[in-house]
């Protein structure tokens, strides 16, 4: 008995499915693993890629007390991806005893700097504001700020975020411009960010006598655009939440190797926790693409045979 051609087939029904069912599937693919990881505390193991290892080695290889400039060029919209990176990098610098100078080119980045520094350095009494860490806050101008910091940091940032002149900060003594830092890190969500730092600041130093080492942390959208700069113009890239998870893993591994009995606070495993929803979300995406194409092929075949 042949099928009534007026009845919609499964392929037809799937093709007309309300997209809210897909939204629900995506929500469950993300929410359920979040709850599972939150309850069990389990995370997946990570194996670092060369670009992330390069970023880790860049911080690790600096002698203790080196000066690291960190530009947190993101806002709350991208904090889900980039906050774990910023936290891990600041923590790594603190473990190595480096001096940290934080700044941002995004107007909404100021509170992010404050929260990150407080979260990581607040429990470290050896870190005292002005002596081994400062926050320069935000300055408007994007590339204009980069042009100024290349020549004279105090021209771009007359004071730090607490309105103290840079000359009065012990850590900033001997720092005239950005090239006086041993490492520049940009955790960037887009424009202005890592790409502009490479173009306006880092590349100019590569042909001078003192090349500035640069590490970038970027969102998933921006990472492919930064790949060509690695490894000549930047020594490491943390790409998307996976890069953050790999970097966290390396830092936590270094902590455990130094002290096998050390426990890692849960707030320093934020990116690793988020890899569980990533797994299910990605599998769902692949399933949706395959299903969509199967529906397309089935409907085309049905249309051809009709």
């Amino acid at each position: 008995m042949s099928r009534d051609p007026r009845l919609p087939s499964l392929a037809d029904r799937l093709d007309r499915i309300d997209r809210r069912w897909i939204f629900l599937a995506m929500f469950l693919a993300v929410a359920v693993p979040i709850l599972w990881v939150g309850v069990t505390g389990r995370t997946f193991p990570e194996s670092p890629t060369p670009a992330v290892q390069g970023a880790f080695d860049a911080v690790e290889s600096l002698p203790p007390g080196s000066k690291v400039a960190i530009s947190m060029d993101f806002d709350p919209a991208s904090a889900g991806e980039l906050q774990p990176m910023a936290t891990a990098i600041v923590r790594h610098c603190a473990m190595r005893g480096h001096s940290i100078c934080a700044m941002t080119l995004w107007p909404a980045g100021g509170p992010i700097i404050d929260a990150t520094l407080k979260d990581v350095l607040g429990a470290r009494p050896e870190y005292r504001y002005g002596e081994n860490f400062v926050s320069l806050g935000f300055q408007a101008g994007n590339e204009g700020v980069m042009k100024q910091v290349n020549a004279d940091l105090s021209a771009a940032f007359p004071t730090d975020a607490r309105r103290t002149p840079l000359a009065d900060l012990p850590m900033m003594k001997g720092v005239r411009n950005i090239a006086d830092f041993d490492l520049l890190v940009s955790v960037s969500a887009g424009y202005p960010g890592a790409k502009e730092w490479v173009q306006f600041t880092v590349s100019a130093t590569l042909t001078s006598g003192k090349p500035l080492r640069f590490v970038a942390g970027s969102t998933g959208v921006q990472t492919p655009q930064l790949i060509p700069y690695y490894p000549t113009q930047m020594v490491g890239i943390l790409g998307a939440i996976k890069g953050a998870a790999e970097y966290e893993y390396l830092v936590n591994d270094a902590v455990r190797r130094a002290d096998p009995a050390a426990s890692i606070p849960a707030r320093f495993q934020e990116a690793q926790r988020r890899m569980a929803p990533q797994l299910f979300g990605h599998v769902l995406m692949i399933a949706l693409i395959l299903l969509g194409n199967a529906v397309f092929v089935a409907r085309r075949a049905r249309g051809a045979s009709a």
Binding site: I17, I22, A51, A79, G80, D114, D152, R163, Q225, N293
Partner: protein, 234 residues
């Protein structure tokens, strides 16, 4: 006349910036010009806020559909601006207790901080998070492998999607990781190869092409050949 003067200003500014790269004494001029640029960028934020004020006041006075939302926007804007400019809830800095405005404008616990932390931050974060749903819907409805190139694109996407999670590790865990002749076929390694070789090459070519285009466009602006940025000004 004003257009000609504007074009002249643009040319002078641009050429000075180019020459400052090669003539050391012009470097100080570049820093000064950058300072002006930064202040102008900050004034552009003021312009944006003023324009928002103007557009929403017009919408409210016109009483068109949705004017209530314009009123909400206006209230939110004025409250936030007031909280920020007047540093509401910000104690004076410990070193300058006699100067009321000496504290940090968004210190933890201040009104501006509250608005940032509990209004701006969650809403902007959620707006961007919504994209995950739309990309899922687009994946089902729009990503069709209609030809070999599209199939290749989707296959690459699958490799990267799996390779960047533990699913890829599990899927190809049967491939020995210590055999260099085949270990690159493990999904996590294959996705790294795709990024470091193929994506690297494609993006590098695009970067080179864009650089040539930007150089050409910048030259046209500096030479006054491209005046499109002036719009329809008199």
């Amino acid at each position: 006349m004003s257009r000609s003067m504007a074009v002249l200003l643009a040319s002078l500014a641009g050429i000075t910036m180019v020459l400052s790269k090669f003539i050391a004494p012009l470097g100080d001029a570049e820093v000064k010009v950058a300072d002006w640029f930064n202040v102008l960028a900050a004034i552009a934020f003021v312009l944006g806020g003023a324009n928002l004020l103007k557009m929403n006041l017009l919408a409210i006075s016109a009483r068109g559909p949705g004017w209530g939302y314009s009123a909400v926007t206006l209230c939110a804007f004025l409250v936030t601006l007031g909280a920020g400019i007047l540093k509401v809830g910000v104690p004076p800095a410990a070193a300058f207790p006699a100067v009321p405005f000496s504290g940090e404008k968004d210190v933890n616990g201040s009104a501006l901080w509250w608005l940032y932390e509990y209004a701006m931050s969650p809403i902007t974060g959620t707006l961007f998070a919504m994209l995950a749903f739309y990309v899922a819907s687009a994946a089902f409805r729009a990503f069709r492998a209609k030809n070999a190139a599209a199939m290749f694109l989707l296959a690459t996407a699958f490799v990267v999607l799996l390779g960047r999670t533990y699913a890829g590790v599990l899927a190809t865990s049967w491939i020995p990781h210590d055999n260099p002749w085949v270990s690159w076929l493990r999904l996590e390694n294959l996705s790294a190869v795709i990024m470091s070789v193929f994506t690297n090459a494609g993006t590098r070519a695009m970067i080179i092409g864009i650089a040539i285009g930007v150089a050409a466009t910048s030259l046209k602006i500096m030479l006054g050949l491209d005046r499109s940025y002036l719009g329809g000004a008199r």
